[in-house]
Symmetry: C2
Subunit: 442 residues, 2 copies
């Protein structure tokens, strides 16, 4: 069983190391020898610190695509340019493809899965979300008897590291520098802190959990740039942790029962969003620290599940890729390839953020004198925003910081209220607004 490797960067080297090292075990279990035959690189002469025979390296994709002996292609180039083309070409030639490419799957998932279907080949992408944490296979296979109500994850290690350090007292800038020093940042750090990396991943998870196509573009996305140490301090005081959460959810209100697939013909819609959020300190996701990732899944039969681990890195990502290569090889040997095609048999629309209901945390700077709270509260009342908690603190003479926690409210209503509140004479500014994500019954 010959494998072609497209790319030999950080992840590609991990794949090479793992397949080389575990060759004996993998081949024994598979009942046939598993070998990397060819590796596509940009520069054959580059020093990589690996003992790879020079004749394995090529700069020509056709050396892999046109090699009849290569049955499995591993794509670790990344991005949606050349990788997209090579993946499609490999699939159209009936080669099974294993990829770690979240951008590809999140933006062109349908296209490449259709190519797999046409080619009668497998397209496996466990490594595209949360590296070696098994999540795609469990969602697709282990939870097949469940209706999933919500998938909620910390799926970007960089931002979780930064927020953890801020929680421990560092400021944003120092925490970011530290994250960069430790190599936690992905190739493009902006993609992490702006939430785009997490958005691609939750699009993939949502598509699988709800069997309904969600692309990266469908995901409402906010990064962590607005979060200050003050927000984190207030969150803790109120019993919450601040996390960059990726949330995918079936709208429960419209059909009464979370996760039901539109029983009674009622319209079903999805939420798909990435943003900083407050979650209760006793929620399992609140304890996920540093660069760790975790995905919390709510199924109607299984209850609450959480999958925790390292969500990035050479060997953790290679761990998922090797498992997929093993699966692809098993399927080829059993002549059962081409069954991993798209399962998006639903087409549920994704709600706009204005239509989504959550609770909110609001931090305002206001005049510190009688009647201010009343005038703000009146605006909330006029917009159906009900308040569950208020903290007011004097910061300097005449100025107060006021924190409001709302009950569940439709985001559009809250935004309308805030527009008016911002224009009030007594309100200096709205310093931050953050969604609050609670348990199933909250």
């Amino acid at each position: 069983m010959k494998v072609g490797l497209l790319g030999l960067g950080t992840v590609g080297r991990g794949v090479w190391q793992l397949i080389s090292r575990e060759n004996e075990v993998l081949s024994n279990r598979l009942g046939c020898d598993l070998q990397i035959k060819k590796i596509l690189v940009n520069d054959k002469s580059k020093e990589r610190g690996l003992a790879i025979a020079p004749e394995l390296l090529t700069t020509e994709a056709k050396d892999i695509l046109e090699d009849e002996e290569i049955k499995i292609v591993v794509e670790v180039i990344g991005g949606t340019g050349v990788a997209r083309e090579l993946v499609k070409q490999a699939l159209s030639r009936g080669k099974s493809v294993v990829t770690a490419n979240k951008e590809l799957m999140a933006s062109f998932g349908q296209e490449v899965l259709e190519a797999a279907d046409l080619g009668g080949a497998d397209l496996l992408f466990e490594a595209s979300v949360a590296a070696g944490i098994p999540i795609i296979k469990p969602l697709r296979e282990s939870l097949v008897g469940n209706r999933i109500a919500r998938v909620m994850g910390i799926i970007n290690g960089t931002t979780n590291f930064i927020l953890s350090k801020m929680d421990a007292g560092q400021n944003y800038e120092d925490a970011l520098v530290k994250a960069q020093e430790l190599g936690y940042a992905e190739r493009d750090p902006a993609s992490d802190v702006e939430g785009k990396d997490a958005a691609a991943k939750i699009a993939i998870l949502a598509s699988i959990a709800f069997n309904s196509r969600v692309t990266a573009a469908d995901v409402y996305t906010e990064g962590i740039g607005s979060i200050s140490s003050v927000d984190i301090m207030y969150a803790r005081e109120l019993g919450y942790a601040v996390k960059l959460l990726a949330v995918a959810k079936v709208d429960a209100d419209e059909f009464g029962q979370p996760g039901a697939s539109g029983a009674g013909g009622a319209p079903v819609s999805l939420e798909a969003r990435v943003h900083p959020a407050m979650i209760p300190l006793d929620h399992p996701l609140a304890s996920v620290k540093d660069a760790y990732n975790a995905i919390f899944v709510e199924g109607d039969a299984v209850g609450n599940l959480m999958f925790f681990g390292q969500g990035a890195g050479s060997l953790p990502t290679a761990s998922a890729i090797v498992a997929d290569v093993f699966q692809a090889a098993t399927n080829i040997l059993g002549s059962v390839t081409g069954q991993s095609a798209c399962t998006c048999f639903n087409s549920w629309p994704v709600k706009s953020i204005e239509k989504i209901e959550t609770s909110f945390y609001l931090l305002l700077e206001a005049a510190d004198r009688p009647g201010v709270l009343a005038s703000i509260a009146k605006v909330f009342g006029d917009h159906d925003v009900s308040i569950s908690n208020v903290i007011q603190k004097q910061t300097e003479a005449g100025i107060a910081e006021v924190v409001f926690m709302t009950n569940k409210v439709m985001e559009g209503n809250l935004r309308s209220a805030l527009t008016i509140i911002e224009s009030l004479d007594v309100v200096d500014k709205v310093k931050n607004v953050m969604r609050v994500e609670v348990g199933q019954d909250g």
Copy 2:
């Protein structure tokens, strides 16, 4: 695709509900209708609160075993009596079997897996450990590129619930009653609190993680009966939580690198044990509260993983069974059954508890006068037991409670030291001894 159900207790009813309710989705995805055709019960007239057509029920196993149309048999009878025979008969007739039976898999796993091999059928048992938490499939398939160093779990919900309540201030008896009221106790509560339930489960996990047969009888087992609120209080003071831990581990010392499969021909041995243990409060397992289960897995490529969720209950267990039924059906349709056979290609011995090295917590009652600590410490020194931490508190006039935390020590040495310490005049009694389980590097 016809399914036969052996047993219609709590779990059997969950399986019936889930397969009935999800019939359309499962059949669509499978490309063929999935139906329960026959159900073995003891008493056909019993009121079960389910709308099951009477002709589906039978009291004769042969109605399922001899029905050529039934390709998949689900065994939810439990125990190692009739269940063992029926599973073997079904497999020998080439029917794939899905079971939730931990006792069967932990004590007769080899026997039934060999029967599956001979019958060319699948034997799937995800539900036998931690109900609906996907763990067996991830270990077997998703981590195939890893060498596992340790699997460590909270895999008995009853005892975790009791310990959580004790941590919150209740005493053991009240916590146990509460657990019984909430229905968290398994059929035989003794099996939970004495650690036997967890021992069966860790035997199964160890066999899969290390590809080496571990049976329930190989697992050193202690229950939570010895744990008092005082231990839990001291643990917290020292920065630890008390959990009933199930631990399976490759002995790292003998070959230098955790998880290496005996490179260089060095002998490899395993640890398999269930006992109350202290784990650092910042370890992910420490936050696992109430009846929740979690399994922490350390792989050399993937790093640390944790799988968290409900470890018992009708629908959570049925969730795992339905996934296995779906897998078995997929394999039958693809003509690739019989590939799930035993993967125990290693035969690594399980170490006796005396040979195992951990740190220890010791709680002693001693005379509260000068020189006592010195005489105890001398005995430890004589037996190569090094102490990392001591707390001494006066409880009443002339009596002191002394807590020792040791560094890593071979258990046999510690036991020898304790025998002598117990006989010292100044020592009233050794009130408790508990192992301390730390991170990979601890």
